[in-house]
Symmetry: C2
Subunit: 311 residues, 2 copies
């Protein structure tokens, strides 16, 4: 009896605030994340690992910008694809190593992923997802001539892009074939590369960022996963998060999660999309959503840490 | 009765000499290459597409170098992984589009690939494969303090790295599972990311470049392909190539190819590794090696263009 898990890792699994972003740091963080995940690998489990890409694609964007007078800058979809290569490689290398060191014979494969979005998605009207480095007022003015830029809280200006809803993962069938063959799959880096398909079947990249938890939910539904596990930098889902009386949630039903979401208990762009991703998954036949820390993944699966949302 | 083909595309399939390297050019070149390949897709054929990455990884290296004071530069293995993301995405997008436009229902997937090399490979003693941009004497002197640099023919200086022999493709089993499920696979970008495995099962990247035709041959053997098809910028294999009396070869046996190779008829780093790749493939059970132009692929398969090497 096999169970199929989708595990979504935060973008800070490879580069954290305060890191310089060197390869040494990234390789060490990849190993730590994959060591935790390797503890959950059993013969009965089919496993898909998805991941964010925030700091990595930020560095790629900085390089594009600084070198643009020497070699043409690539659009955001290509930068996202490069980040899938960068992070996917480090995760696959780390996971292959830790599995071998634990004597587990399971192949690993990293797939690029193209995710269809609707060109009429309302998100395109008002781009609001901040990406790339913080900018000075002068830099923001210059960059703002070609792309939208917004002030990000108290920390300065950043480029903003649309964050449209994921509609379909083009590689779902390939991922299912790999899982059925016992391969552990790393995919959906940065939420996937956003593409649009027109009536002539022309496929084009778009300059947008898809929320990785929402696209992980779309994938989990497409492949009939039983568990969607969202690993992040917080130990529980909290109610009344920003107050001193915040309360950790150990278990809730999907209907309770919906109520809390509607009342605005969860931060937009942070916990809210994770809860939305979980709700959509549970309403389409998913059995369990788990949210917690990467290093507590084994306890999370046993119900001894983190938040569980059930149908 | 299905046949399994490995088609290796030259690195200039996406960026050619004289191109500026813009996304518009790369997208158009990807579509042209995939349009040719799509003509060979039949229900009976399982297809793996491999590709070079020369100009693309060159641009990534330029960006790393120019931005290194702002964000840490990545080593060559990570740059190679980023190029697999960049090129793989554009090829997958283009192939998905042309297949849909031709009404062919076949999924496409792009896999990163890690290729094991021997840390004691003699290639590491004397790095000789030029990579990245041409350098002025001053730039060469600066870069030469940290990595080997050599004069490249009459065109200036370039960084040089080792080009070790590929030993094993880590994703072979995953690729077989995808092919068996009817998925067209894009992989082995730039010849694969070179890694070494030590006695503690530690897996590390190395700063080297693997010849993509040699690694395509290793993959073709691992998955029991019948045909290895090497697409390049020349219409035939030639004997006496550099003379005015050069002769195109339409067909030759593997023993003849070996004789010509031994006599130095083929240019090192150019046609010689393609012939070596073909010989190794044919001696391990391969049925046919084809070498020719991407735009003549359908004729190549019919024996109406290019060079065929048989067992």
């Amino acid at each position: 009896m096999s169970e199929r898990l989708v595990v979504a890792l935060g973008g800070n699994a490879l580069i954290r605030q305060g890191d310089r972003g060197t390869i040494t740091e990234q390789a060490a963080r990849s190993l730590a994340a994959m060591a935790a995940i390797s503890q959950t690998v059993t013969a009965e489990r089919q496993l898909v690992i998805t991941h964010g890409n925030g700091p990595t694609v930020g560095n790629i964007l900085i390089r594009q910008q600084l070198a643009r007078h020497v070699t043409p800058a690539m659009p955001l979809d290509v930068c996202g694809a490069e980040s899938q290569g960068n992070i996917g490689y480090l995760l696959e290398r780390a996971l292959t190593q830790v599995l071998r060191q634990r004597g587990i014979q399971r192949p690993v494969a990293t797939l690029l992923s193209l995710v269809e979005v609707d060109p009429h998605d309302p998100a395109f009207v008002n781009p609001s997802k901040p990406i790339g480095p913080f900018l000075s007022a002068a830099e923001a003015e210059e960059l703002g001539r070609s792309v939208p830029v917004a002030r990000d809280a108290a920390r300065g200006f950043r480029r903003v892009v649309a964050s449209p809803a994921p509609q379909r993962i083009f590689e779902s069938a390939a991922i299912e074939a790999l899982l059925a063959a016992g391969v552990i799959v790393i995919t959906l880096g940065g939420g996937g590369i956003p593409v649009v398909l027109d009536s002539e079947q022309q496929l084009s990249g778009v300059e947008a960022v898809i929320d990785k938890d929402l696209s992980s939910s779309v994938l989990a539904r497409a492949i009939g996963a039983s568990n969607l596990i969202i690993l992040t930098d917080i130990d529980y889902v909290y109610l009344d998060f920003l107050s001193a009386q915040r309360r950790a949630v150990q278990r809730m039903r999907v209907s309770e999660a919906e109520d809390h979401l509607r009342r605005g208990e969860f931060l937009p762009g942070s916990m809210a999309p994770k809860i939305e991703a979980g709700i959509a998954f549970l309403y389409s036949g998913g059995q369990r959503v788990l949210i917690g820390l990467p290093e507590e993944l084994p306890q999370l699966l046993q119900g001894a840490a983190g938040t569980e949302i059930s149908p």
